[in-house]
Subunit: 395 residues, 2 copies
């Protein structure tokens, strides 16, 4: 199954090379189990020890050049047609390949903006430059970010099915959490409960266990990207959870919001309900305009402006990112035009990409309201992969 | 405990900065849970999302500049004195730091030769170059490989204790394997048995589970860096296993060799015994000359020459590498003078470094003999961390 997906992705990569008129794609790595170029699991399917070159040619030919001791393993994995071993240096077989195939435009595994396309370390770039000094190939490199963005972004129907499984299982755990939540339990208690479900079912967490799940309760909560604390759930708190699972190599990334009612409280306080409604509608404002060809910043605008026009403070992060093999999958995203996002807000959205939509607002005295939905881009718009939260969940 | 080790290592880093007369050490990373700069677990203790700078100054000051949403987590982790958040770009606070401290020599997290010191991606290097364009700082960078080599190499006594635990537990599993081995079992059966012990005891594997453990039986075995196959153990086979565990963040990496006696065989065949004896003595030849100040290639020479002088073919890899938080820890190693090892064979050996010694030879018709021992360099020589295998283990 694993290697079958790699074969599918290599085939897709060849199509993308032809579409973008790039002759060859060179992935240059070493000790990849330590510095893990995330592209390897996509189009290689194993790791390497010494300086190694994985080359996909637009004619469909695939060549792996690795240290001789890695050759038997690479042949067993079987994802590359030509497997060439070296003892002393990758330089000669790599030069030999370039001389034979003479690619005019070579995509290389680095990227200024897209971290998932930036697997080439600077030291390896220096090594490559040294090997190719005085050859014409050194000036033929371009970033492979566009290839990787297309390859990671465009989900095959079997990939979408795998991602739906992740979403369903995440929603199932959110339902179980609803039964578990009560005043007096701590953020850590809630996180431990969620982790126990993940372990019990043989899943992995979608990101770093320090803040997966993240649990935030009440008005003094730390906000995004912080681990659960000993803070106790109290009546009157808004509580939310940011959480995802990894199953069969694919991730989910979702958020849900609960309100912990006070005793004798028969309706949700107006300001809490209003915050929830505005957030809900901001997600809808974004989702209804998504379609192929738009820029992510336009989608970000829709939710961000709706929230600030309703008098809430602007959230200090992007509206949404892609999801796939990583919880934060790249490159394009529903991002604002901020320098830290580089060119990512401006890359046109494509069919079959999966994005999160995750605005956020603060209700003074109660806590943070934030939901995170997952959508897949269709020919004419988008479909939800998640069942969007449409009402506040009351404890 | 985790953060205490980070504090210890930051203190050690400050000493090394002073020793090497470097003013500041800049670690520049993004989305570090995906592209994991291995230095972060050493001197940071957590991951970051956006472009982030971790700076250790030789006066002992430590500064983390991260996306604002990562700030609460960094403060909770508590390993850096100054924690500065940004919303739009790391550029301004980074420039501000450089202007204020004006470091004349800045170590940066890239390295041509040492993969564990090469956490800066090429894209991040380009970003940094852009941010610092027109400033004097751009010309003040040097590789931090020397700092990292010293920091990872020089084990504190508490680190040595943690590594001894790994070695003991590996040896314990090797003893259990001796009871398990018998003709008719496959390489995969043996690997599964070992993995079950690792899981049962709550350890991790020291490297990629595809070839940890690696199990090789008989004359037709694939050799190093290949995963276990369905090949069955037969009488007359030499069998060896390459295996290590990770416990409390530290690794072991060891190999042992067994002989599967034929029925009615009362002594080991001469050629098998001779191969074992030569290999054993080649390890000794290397170990007895190890001391601080020597070059790794000199140690490699000792074992390699002993094996070829005894008429065996040269093994196509280095004699040994460092072990620590990674099974292949860097930079210096007992490596031959081959281009693929860059400058690593020539870096002087230091006290308190831990190395493997792992020569290899083939006994025609039986299989591969290879042991891998671990030693720690002392003031005047070296001590074994492992109990060296001195006799062939007969099944």
């Amino acid at each position: 199954m694993k290697n079958q997906l790699v074969h599918e992705k290599i085939k897709q990569a060849v199509e993308i090379l032809n579409e973008k008129n790039i002759d060859a794609w060179l992935i240059f790595v070493r000790e990849s189990a330590t510095m893990r170029d995330p592209t390897l699991e996509l189009v290689v399917g194993t790791n390497c020890t010494w300086q190694s070159a994985f080359i996909i040619n637009k004619d469909g030919d695939t060549t792996a050049i690795l240290g001789s001791l890695d050759v038997p393993n690479m042949k067993t994995v079987g994802t590359y047609k030509n497997v060439i071993g070296f003892v002393q240096s990758v330089k000669e077989p790599l030069l030999e390949y370039l001389k034979t195939h003479d690619p005019k435009k070579i995509a290389l595994n680095y990227s200024l903006h897209a971290n998932l396309a930036d697997g080439l370390t600077h030291g390896m770039f220096l090594a490559l430059s040294e090997y190719l000094k005085g050859t014409p190939y050194i000036d033929r490199f371009v970033s492979s970010e566009e290839i990787i963005a297309a390859l990671r972004g465009r989900k095959s129907s079997s990939e979408i099915e795998l991602m739906k499984v992740c979403v369903r299982e995440t929603e199932r755990i959110f339902d179980e959490v609803t039964q578990f939540l009560q005043p007096g339990k701590s953020e850590k208690d809630v996180a431990d409960f969620i982790k126990s479900k993940v372990t019990e079912r043989g899943f992995e967490l979608a990101w770093d266990e320090d803040h997966c799940p993240a649990v935030f309760t009440g008005p003094d909560t730390a906000g995004a990207h912080s681990g659960p604390t000993d803070r106790l759930i109290e009546r009157g708190h808004i509580l939310n959870i940011d959480f995802g699972v990894k199953i069969n190599g694919f991730c989910s990334d979702m958020q849900r919001t609960w309100y912990i009612a006070k005793e004798n409280e028969t309706t949700v306080p107006t300001e809490v309900q209003h915050g929830f409604d505005v957030l809900c509608e901001s997600i809808n404002q974004a989702a209804i305009i998504v379609k192929p060809g738009m820029q992510g910043c336009e989608i970000d605008d829709a939710a961000r402006n709706f929230i600030t026009q309703n008098g809430y403070e602007e959230y200090m992060h992007g509206l949404g990112h892609q999801v796939g093999r990583d919880a934060h999958d790249g490159g394009s995203g529903f991002f604002p035009r901020w320098e830290r996002y580089g060119n990512l807000p401006f890359i046109p959205i494509e069919k079959d990409q999966v994005y999160t939509i995750e605005p956020r607002l603060m209700v003074e005295g109660h806590g943070i309201v934030t939901m995170e939905e997952e959508i897949v881009v269709t020919e004419t718009g988008c479909d939800y992969l998640s069942n969007p939260q449409k009402s506040l969940w009351i404890i």
